[in-house]
Amino acid sequence: MSLSYQDLINEAKHEIPEIEPADLADLIGRVAIFDVRESDEYEQGAIATAKLLPRGLLEGAIDKHIDDPGEKIVVYCAGGARSALAAQTLTRMGYSNVSSLQGGFGRWKSDGHPWGLPEALSNDQRGRYSRHILLPEVGEEGQIRLLESKALIVGAGGLGSPAALYLAAAGVGTIGIVDFDVVDATNLQRQILHNLDRVGQSKVESARETLTALNPDVKIITYDERLSAENVLQIFSGYDVVVDGGDNFPTRYLVNDASVHLGIPVVHGSIFRFEGQVTVFEPYTGPCYRCQYPEPPPPELAPSCAEAGVLGVLPGVIGTLQAMEVLKILLGIGDTLSGRLLTYDGLSQEFRTLRIRRDPTCPACSDESHPPAIVEYDQFCTPAGVVARAG
């Protein structure tokens, strides 16, 4: 005997419990709610705490959302038919406390219960970020989080280039870039944001062109100015994370002091010839740059890339590792390099991890009630011991 669609629904409704909209409204926050409609229906409006899990994906993905098969689950669709079938299937799979919303989302709305337009990706975005969405650690939720995040990159140079490219490709929604310089032919051996046509153009404008062409989802904010004590707090405010790709010690101390002041994590990268260092400075929970480097070396011991040379791919390695740390921080996944300094030697092709710690006497971060004052440093950097403190 064959069964019609209506027969199947009647059978399902007979087997599984239905829940009244008013009863579900009382349970909000204490029950897992799944919207089993298609994503285009969900985007038109949904119950705020519901997760989208279209029927086609339900059986394969439910275990990623529900650990305890005895947990109370409510499924709903537009009118209560598809969700009855969904609830029947889940029950057969061993989920023992599943109900279907009677009358579906249509009745929920007409009964006057609250609903909203969910944050959702467009179809284009689902395609662009599909390899992220497939990762359970990211998913659509994580991608939305990235799109709502703001990362500031200090320096559109060797480190800033790969970091910016990967963060833009990943869909970090707002990327700020600070650099006062113009593109020079000697930059092109490593600074892959730029190209020969852009020589003489401002680096931040060149960066904007490259990144917008790669991913128009991303809002690029440019700061065509030198980072200084006057502008650093204003520029940094509102960002979730700062990528330090600077090329001199005064800027690095300034980045540190401002980030400690504002409580913004810094993903640090620095390079010299064939060697690089990466770490995360998480204000007040891990060490800061001054904990690790209380004083800069004298200039004769710390020549810049312009003076000492650098193998072009080195900033690619280090800047890409910085981008990885940024995504982990923004997504809240994995273990960041806070408290660990990753060193890289390109010649021996060796990575090492060294433990670094907060310095209880650090002039910048030892006392949370006195964040460091922001002062300008000359090329020799004022020694850490005389850093002025905010009153």
């Binding site: 320096g155 010839r273 800069p296 710390a302 890339c305 000492a308 300094l341 060193t343």
Partner: protein, 91 residues
């Protein structure tokens, strides 16, 4: 009974280009004295006139910063790696 000292690129000009130098194990102070006896110019870069490590020089024994161990008194065992790590600013 020797330890290995890793020399960063920026100081290799003072060690004849060597990236690693083997020295007898012992207290870190002795390890550094042994090193600077062989490469006297390195001594000036690492130690101040009082013989203390300069503040911009970071030294790790195995994975730990000696500022949080016993400083120059830290014992370096045979086979352990001593890393001299300068701050670098390039980007």
């Amino acid at each position: 009974m020797s330890a290995v000292v890793k020399i960063p690129t920026s100081l290799r000009g003072l060690t004849g280009g060597s990236s690693e130098v083997e020295v007898p194990a012992g207290r870190l102070g002795e390890v550094i004295t042994n090193l600077t006896d062989t490469y006297p110019d390195l001594g000036e870069r690492l130690l101040d006139e009082k013989g203390n490590l300069r503040r911009f020089v970071n030294v790790f024994v195995a994975e730990d910063d000696i500022r949080f161990l016993e400083g120059l008194e830290t014992e370096v065992s045979s086979g352990q790696v001593v890393t001299i790590l300068p701050a670098v600013a390039g980007g």
